[in-house]
Every structure is written in structure tokens, then in C-alpha cells.
Amino acid sequence: MTFTLSEEQTLLKDAARDFCREQAPVTRLRKMRDDKKNGRDPELWAEMAAMGWAGILVPEEFGGAGLGYVGLGLVLEQAGRTLVASPLHSTALVGASALLLGGSDAQKKEWLPKIAAGEVTFALAVDESAHHAPAKSKLKVAGGKISGTKKYVADGHTADLLLVVGGDGLYLVKADASGVTRRELITVDSRGAADITFDNAPAEKLEGGAKLVQQVLDRAAIGLAAEMLGQAQEAFEITNEYLKTRKQFGQYIGSFQALQHRAAKMFTDIELTRSCILAALDALDRDAEDVSEYASLAKARASDMLHVVSNEFVQMHGGIGMTDAHDAGLYMKRARVAEALYGGATYHRDRYATLLGF
């Protein structure tokens, strides 16, 4: 295992950082929200695809960069910093890895080049109730067709292709296929989602059965944790800066010990969680046996950590943190959604205990 970035990875991270700061700052999310686009910003995704990020996982033979999960995690983290609303997670990570792990040669040939080119987007349809419980799927499969209902499918309202979790495996469904009905959800984080009903919708089963479902969910959890790390890092840096500039009682508020200790604990929590997420991404690139342990470790800790950091973002800013004009609220809204998606801290602690044998 290593935490040390290669030169290529460092360049990728720097490029992603610059791009997100210059082309996709939080003002871009704000404008998209105010224009009532509910997560739609295809121009931005086209720019990101042009940077090569849609195909980070896609091997060169299919038109991608083949830079691996650590590389993609670095970009997701930078995108998290400025709350970039894009299909990076659902397509470049989930879509590409599902096809790489479980796609037939024909499926890979058909879809991977389109993913790398930014021409198609994916969404992972997993939950069937208000909470994450993939093992309890009631999806019905008969004669190459699926029936059932999926709730809160992130990016599900815009995706061209759906990866649908069933009890026995993962199914690839075209979003415009017959029998697919989408109800768009306007969501608190301004990204949008969809409840989707399948009524005898034609579906292609990917190879790998229930194991593939677990592999893809692990990847989704780890990738989202990387995005959450970026959100927390940015939220913390802005908060720490505010502690150094805001004065009350004739003092910088950052000189008050009650705030200093909370800031020091957040810093510690972010650093400890960063190690878990980097190790989890590295475990994916190594194809390690204990990826699931790392996934639950990374997602549970990221959820708990971001919960605190996003709340403190508001609290330490006082009244200004409650205003829509300030970014703190945007981070807190996205934080809660990300905390719960693909399992929150409670879910992953339970899973971790089971994996550790107690």
C-alpha cells in the first residue's frame, strides 16, 4: 500500500484543482440552481470530458486514460471542494467500473468509448425505500425484463443509462426504454434525482451476480467519500479563515479556546479520514481482498466527519452562515445527501462489524 502520489497523479490533481476553481466555482452551482436546472449543466460536463476525466478509469484501448481509482479519487475530491454538479461520480466512476467489471466485450466496446468521450451518462439505481438496504431488493426479473421501483436515484433524472441493482445482480437498462417511468425530484442539494419505476423494462444482466453489486456499491461509496473529503476540506479552510478575520469583543474569534479546540478536532478528524479514503482508493487499484472493509471504513468516517464539519461551517459563521447568500448552507445541504447515499455511517458501521466477524 502507498499514500505517495505518482508524478502523473500529482499533475492530475493540480489540473483538477485549477479547473474547478476557475471553471466550476460554487457560483456555477448557484447559477444552475437559480436557473432552475436541477443539476443540469451539460456544458460543464463537456468541458470536464474534454479534460479527460470522463475516461479516467477507461483503458486506453477504449479511448480513456486508464489512470485508476486513486487518480479519479483526486479529481472527485477537487470537484467536491467547489460542489461541482456533474455526472463524474455516476458515470466516470460507477458506469465505467460496472462495465469494466461486469460488461461483455460487446458492452464494453459499445459503451466505454462513449463514456470516455462524455457522450453518455449513467446512474446507479439501488434504493427501494427511504433508506439504503441493497440486500432487500424486491426487483422482479423475468425473460430479460425487470419490474420494480427505485427511489432517489442520484442523477437518475438526466442519465441515458441506468445500472439497476437486483437481488441477484446488476442490470443495464436504457433510460428511454419502454416500461421505464421517471419522476424527477427537485432536491435540497440542487443536483436533482429521480424515482424510477420499471414495468417489464428490457434489461441486460451484467456478469458477476451479487458480487458485482457489492463491488460496484463499494466503488460508489469510496468515490463519494473522496468527493465528501473535498467538501469538508474546503468548508474547513473557509471556516478557519473566518476565525482569523472575524472580530467580536475586540478579539479575533479564532483566539477563543472554545472555538480553537473544535477547529483542532475537526482538523484531526479530516486528516484521519483522509488516510482512510486514500487507502480505500489504493485498495481498489491494488484489487485488494479487503476492499469492502475499506469502503465501509471510508464512507462511515467521511459521513460522520462531514456531518460535523458542515454543521460547524454554519455555526462558526454565526448569522451570516444562515443566509442563502453565504455558501455554508450549500455545503451543508450537499453534505446530508452525500452522507446518506450508498449507506450512511450507521449502515457502514453495521457492515464493518459484520465484516470483522462480530
Partner: protein, 397 residues
């Protein structure tokens, strides 16, 4: 160094350890009595312990990265990593526990003059001299720089008067590295760092009994103690910088306590709480909290590994020592509390036949762990350090 040479080093090290590490030294300590602290009155629970120490010290491998001219091992960082992994591979015991090695040595290498290094480093490496740390005083705990032990210049010697407290194992130590006040008109700038022979007339130690029933700490009294002029390290009134640097070594050492537990909390819980039909701990709330703790433990270990890699790559990670101290202490305290909770009434024994040695160790360990967030700088003081040095937050004006 090339990979080929490192591989050669690994091969030679493995062969040497195979030949020289006694079989009885290839197992975890079963009691604290088996730990070797060295010194003039060194105790060896086992003749192999002495043999193992002497063989390792002969090569300087009790201080692998210190220069050879002071009897150290002279190894590079890479070679030391190989040595440590080879030691771990055969589960070799640490041959010598020593404040001289962990705390004093590194600052002597940085701040002492040539004569002091030649005199004090080799005996520490060989475990011939046992050191103690004269830092805290009754009136100077978290506010360490408020210390008052007086050190006067008497021309041909220094004269020391005052009291230290929480001096670990002072009653067994041969020498003490000590912070003393050499200027009363200023605070931090009036402190000096001095080395005192504990056999000097006027030195007295009294063990302090702790809630765990053990006495790892002492009160140490200095009454008209004469100290040779050459025993001051660094400049007169320049001791605070050395003191702080030494604390970094001490804190990284205490934070390492986090990984030393002998019994696993999960095993204790399985035994005393039991499992349900699905193989889950039969107390869902405790199970969730143990899982959270296990994640914290893993996160801590991964972060220590990351910091080691960053240090190796040349990054400056010394500033996060305080972060590790706080996290390591919190981790160990959490673990001890969970073990007591999981053990139920099996953790309420104190002595006698009704409780096993492992169970009594849980109880005593829990009580001892309460010191982790106090010794070497309290959690509160270390959070102050993180806030100021790492986050750049200021003091109130």
C-alpha cells in the same frame, strides 16, 4: 541506496537475527516485569533478555539511526525500516525501553556539544545508564514554563534547589534530564536544560501511588544539589527550545500507546456479551460503538503510516505530533472504557483468585489510561498547539 544493496541488507539482517535473537525473545511480553529498562541496577527477568540487549547494543541497533561515532547503528531510514520489519517478522521483543533513547538522545544529537554526546549517548545505547525526565513541578503542569526549580551559578558549579513531580521511574533512574530556572525575571527565556546525576547528595525520590495501584511516577526533591558546569546542554537560558523539541519526541512516544493492548475488545465482548443467532454481538448499541472504535483505530494506524511516508519523502510532519498525541490518547482511553464495559462485572476485580490475570489487567489498564490525556501535555494543551501552530489561530490580545 540501491534496491540491490537494500535487499542485501535485508538478507544479512535476517541471517543475523536468526542467529542472535534468542528463542525466548521472540514473543510478546507477558508481564511488565519482562521489560528491560537497563541502568546501573538493571533487572533482567530472564538471562536471555540481557544477552539480547547486549547483542543488539553491540551493533548499535538499540538506536539504529544514530551515528556510529556515538555507538549508534548508523543506519539510513530505509535500512532502519528493513531492520524494524525483520524484527517484527520474528516477533522480537524490544531489547531496551529507555527515555534516554526515546527522548534525551535525539535532542542531545541536535543541541549537545561533542563532549556531552560522547559521554552520554553510548551508555544510553548500551542500556548502562537509565534516565528520568525532570519536567513538571507541583506549580507547573500544563503551564510548564512556569517552573521554579532554581539553578544558581556558584562559579565552579551549579546549585539546584526545588521539586519535580510526575518523574517517571525516578526511583530507578541513574541520571535526570531536567528543566531549571536560571533567570527569574523572564519566563520562557529564563529556563535552562541540565543533566543531573541522581546519586548526587541532596537528591531524594518518593513514589506516588496511582488509582491503578501502581507507582510509575515519583516526586523528586533537589536540596542544595551541586552539578558540574559541563552538564548544561545548550545555552544558559536557552532550555525552552530544547524542552519543546524533547516534548515532540515524548508525545509521539505516548501516542504510540494506542496500539499496545494485549486483549482485543472484540474478544472480551464476544466472551462476556455473547453473539446472537446471526453471529452479531448480542448488544446492538455496544456493537455499533465497538465498530466505530475499530474504525478510529484503523484510521489512526493508516494516518501514522501516511505521516511516516510523508516524513520519508522529506515533508515536515513534526507539527502534527500534538495531533497524534491527542488522537492516540483518545483512542487508548476509548478502548479501555469499551473493554471495561464489554467485560461487565469481570472488570470489577482488584485482586485475589476470583479474577484472571487478563481481567485484572483490563481493570488496571483502564485506570492507567486516564493518564494518557494528561501526561506529556494534556489533551487541552495539545489542542492549543494544533490550533496555534498548525491552524495559525492566535492568542487573545
Amino acid at each position: 541506496m540501491t534496491d540491490v544493496k537494500l535487499e542485501q541488507f535485508r538478507k544479512e539482517t535476517r541471517a543475523w537475527l536468526e542467529e542472535n535473537c534468542p528463542a525466548s525473545m521472540r514473543s510478546t511480553f507477558t508481564s511488565e516485569d519482562e521489560i528491560v529498562w537497563g541502568g546501573r541496577n538493571a533487572k533482567f527477568a530472564n538471562p536471555d533478555s540481557k544477552l539480547w540487549l547486549d547483542r543488539m547494543a553491540e551493533r548499535g541497533w538499540t538506536a539504529p539511526t544514530w551515528p556510529k561515532e556515538y555507538s549508534g547503528g548508523g543506519l539510513s531510514k530505509e535500512e532502519n525500516l528493513i531492520l524494524q520489519s525483520e524484527l517484527k517478522r520474528i516477533n522480537a521483543r524490544v531489547p531496551l525501553y529507555s527515555f534516554g533513547l526515546w527522548m534525551l538522545g535525539p535532542v542531545l544529537l541536535e543541541y549537545a556539544n561533542e563532549e556531552q554526546k560522547k559521554r552520554h549517548l553510548p551508555p544510553a545505547i548500551r542500556g548502562e545508564i537509565r534516565w528520568c525526565q525532570g519536567y513538571s513541578e507541583p506549580g507547573a503542569g500544563s503551564d510548564l514554563a512556569g517552573l521554579q526549580t532554581k539553578c544558581e551559578d556558584k562559579g565552579d558549579h551549579w546549585l539546584i534547589n526545588g521539586q519535580k513531580i510526575w518523574t517517571s521511574y525516578a526511583n530507578y533512574a541513574d541520571w535526570c534530564f531536567c528543566l531549571v530556572r536560571t533567570d527569574t525575571s523572564v519566563k520562557h527565556e529564563g529556563i535552562s536544560f541540565i543533566l543531573i546525576d541522581m546519586t548526587s547528595p541532596g537528591v531524594e525520590t518518593r513514589p506516588i501511588k496511582l488509582i491503578s495501584g501502581n507507582s510509575p511516577f515519583c516526586e523528586t526533591f533537589f536540596t542544595d544539589v551541586k552539578v558540574a558546569k559541563e552538564n548544561m546542554v545548550g545555552k544558559l537560558n536557552g532550555g525552552w527550545e530544547i524542552a519543546k523539541r524533547l516534548l515532540q519526541y515524548e508525545r509521539s512516544n505516548i501516542s504510540g500507546f494506542g496500539s499496545g493492548a494485549r486483549t482485543d475488545v472484540v474478544d472480551i465482548a464476544k466472551q462476556n456479551v455473547g453473539l446472537d443467532e446471526d453471529g452479531r454481538l448480542d448488544d446492538r448499541d455496544l456493537r455499533a460503538r465497538i465498530a466505530e472504535h475499530k474504525m478510529f483505530e484503523r484510521a489512526y494506524a493508516l494516518t501514522a503510516q501516511r505521516a511516516a511516508e510523508e516524513a520519508k519523502a522529506g515533508g515536515n510532519v513534526s507539527h502534527i505530533t500534538s495531533m497524534f498525541k491527542v488522537a492516540g490518547a483518545t483512542l487508548n482511553i476509548d478502548r479501555c472504557e469499551l473493554m471495561v464495559e464489554a467485560a461487565g462485572s469481570r472488570a470489577f476485580g482488584w485482586a485475589g483468585e476470583g479474577y484472571g490475570a487478563d481481567e485484572l489487567a483490563v481493570t488496571r489498564g483502564w485506570l492507567r489510561s486516564k493518564g494518557n490525556s494528561i501526561e506529556g501535555g494534556t489533551t487541552e494543551v495539545n489542542l492549543n498547539v494544533v490550533a496555534k501552530r498548525v491552524l495559525g489561530l492566535r492568542d487573545t490580545q
